[in-house]
Point group: C2
Chain length 377, copies 2
């Protein structure tokens, strides 16, 4: 017997309320009972996105929503600005490239947040830029970017701001309407506490005006078609009905806890995790850490991949390693979504045991203790 | 208390084996246990598609797979041939149009199958045609097209044959390799007995050669990227892990029953349904009926929509009405996927009761009896 724990930054654990709802017999998507649930989902999404506008839903992983954000707002030859500070920032550039969108990249050293002034300068230098693509919480590096400052800059230009909030929505404030975020993309398998398979896009009035004139090709990820349908509690194509039943449950959980409490919980778990790993003598990978995931440098002489593998095989605990050139150099512990106090305790205890086994000098209990000091507050 | 029954042509009922597997705690997509299940899924899909080639998997509804089939094989300005004999045939044309593919349409009266000779003539007339898009089982009309004859024609030309087999795969034979079908698209929510949310595409050698030179834009539905990943038991983007765990179970059920038995079961249920409705004095909508779904003309003076609504609200039974210009004129009873003898009995009994309630003269039990005579064989 071995109990297993999922502490990776997506997919994340799903609460039993949602697991049970998703194992209900299939509801037909034109049945009145389904339409009622779907209309509650629409309201719940508006609450999480803090918006009065409609949040579009696609049966796809989050990347499908990112593709939708590009192909529905831009036209061939349009100019965009892409912030690349990790694997997911690079994805914005890859999508633009696939669709023939010219883009200027702001390349940020992995582990650093983007300096918003660079965005302001780029927009000033080139008035033709139609859209700015940023990653709020960059999962590959554990960096949180200063979205509020970026939004303030872009809001006063003709460009739209398109945000990958896949690991930030429901973790830190993403007040879509208040900050004037134009397209915000999220996915089901992060703080929305569901299996992967749904992407979400909020679309501002400013962005809808660009949708009207956009000429990039699209069919499955068509914002206009989806909006026409969602307003009738329908989807352009067969919706992922089971995931939507689960989403109704997790949105209810989110509303019951309240966004402010959810943000405070993630902040507390993240600070405790950082304190714990620091107490073990480990170094954080970034000085601008996301409350969704903590990226930690592997100690000298120990491969990060070995830490991840030992945690999984000996301790039944799944965390994430480094990606691309960070492979082996960092490991990442998530604390987002269906995560609470004792998930951090488990992570710290398992890290202490694993590091000891790998020959790294650890005072057992010291990481847990440092975490507890924050968790108890 | 009211028991409900889902007899619509998608989404279809999900067996409890899959419901239970999907309600397991989330497995991470890089966990060895997941990769093992995924490799079994790959083998199971090859069995159902009757192919030695890799079947690609996308987190999307079936339409995403259709879009993938277009954007991965063609280039701007390419010429295609599209068979349109219903709502899903029209979808091929819509996707081609969205991506700037020129196409010639063979418009077939809804309710009739396409005459394969028309495809042969079109290909002979225009040697520039790169791809032929057909619907095997047209769900909107209940028509089954003669795919074997079509395949024989296209196989000997430079064009590829792209098949929407969304409601035919796992219902009637779709021997991909034997018939030389180039791209075959399927979805999870039909005979694969899962919730909506997965699309599948098999790709022949001939089609892969076109993928190599295709210049239509794509990112999320990128065949080459997906192939590279699936060969390592991975996906280009976060896979819908829960649905894949369910798929492992339904593929096991399919293998245990055996394709030949599954085809025979669907044929028996379809013939029984046709015999039942005919015995009630109703008329079938098509002379080339699909074993997935039976389309029936609403009797004179009774709106098809009223039949559907009465079945749902008074009897708890979900069937489908007519779409587009067939709205009110037909209703559709499905018998695909997780469907067996007593689903047909329920459908016939409910139809008898409903028609009686709506004032249509019915000899109670006569539809059930006619169905039973076939079901018992």
């Amino acid at each position: 017997m071995k109990k297993t724990y999922l502490l990776a930054p997506g997919p994340t654990p799903v609460p039993s309320e949602a697991l049970l709802a998703m194992s209900r017999p299939i509801l037909h998507h034109r049945a009145p009972e389904y339409e009622k649930i779907f209309s509650q989902v629409r309201e719940g999404l508006k609450y999480v996105f803090q918006t009065q506008t409609e949040v579009l839903i696609f049966a796809s992983s989050g990347t499908g929503g990112m593709e939708g954000a590009v192909v529905n707002t831009l036209s061939p030859g349009d100019k965009a600005l892409v912030v690349r500070g990790g694997k997911f920032g690079e994805r914005w550039g890859e999508i633009c490239q696939a669709y023939g969108v010219n883009f200027e990249a702001i390349d940020v050293e992995w582990g650093k947040p983007v300096d918003p002034a660079l965005i302001a300068e780029a927009l000033k230098r080139d008035g033709a830029i139609k859209a700015v693509f940023v990653t709020h919480s960059e999962t590959s590096t554990g960096v949180l970017n200063d979205l509020e400052a970026i939004a303030e800059i872009v809001r006063n230009t003709p460009a739209i701001l398109v945000v990958d909030a896949i690991t930030s929505l429901g973790v830190v404030p993403v007040p879509v309407d208040e900050w004037g975020l134009d397209v915000v993309v999220a996915g089901s398998q992060k703080a929305l506490m569901l299996p992967p398979g749904l992407a979400f896009c909020s679309v501002s009035e400013k962005a809808w005006r660009m949708v009207e004139t956009s000429r990039l090709p699209k069919y499955y990820f068509n914002f206009k078609e989806e909006k026409k349908n969602i307003e009738k509690n329908q989807s352009a194509f067969t919706p992922a009905v089971s995931l939507l039943l689960g989403l109704k449950e997790t949105l209810d959980l989110i509303k019951a806890e309240g966004l402010e409490n959810i943000f405070a919980r993630h902040d507390r778990l993240a600070r405790a995790t950082r304190a714990g790993v620091t107490a073990l003598g480990l170094e954080l990978f970034t000085e601008s850490p996301s409350p969704a995931v903590t990226a930690v440098k592997a100690p000298t002489g120990i491969d990060g991949g070995t830490i991840v593998k030992t945690l999984r095989t000996k301790h039944g605990i799944t965390i994430a390693g480094g990606q691309s050139h960070l492979k082996g150099k960092i490991f990442r512990i998530a604390h987002l979504g269906y995560a609470d106090t004792y998930d951090v305790v488990i992570a710290m205890a398992a890290l202490e045991l694993t590091l000891s086994e790998l020959g790294y000098p650890v005072k057992l209990g010291s990481g847990v203790r440092a975490a507890e000091e924050i968790l108890m507050k």
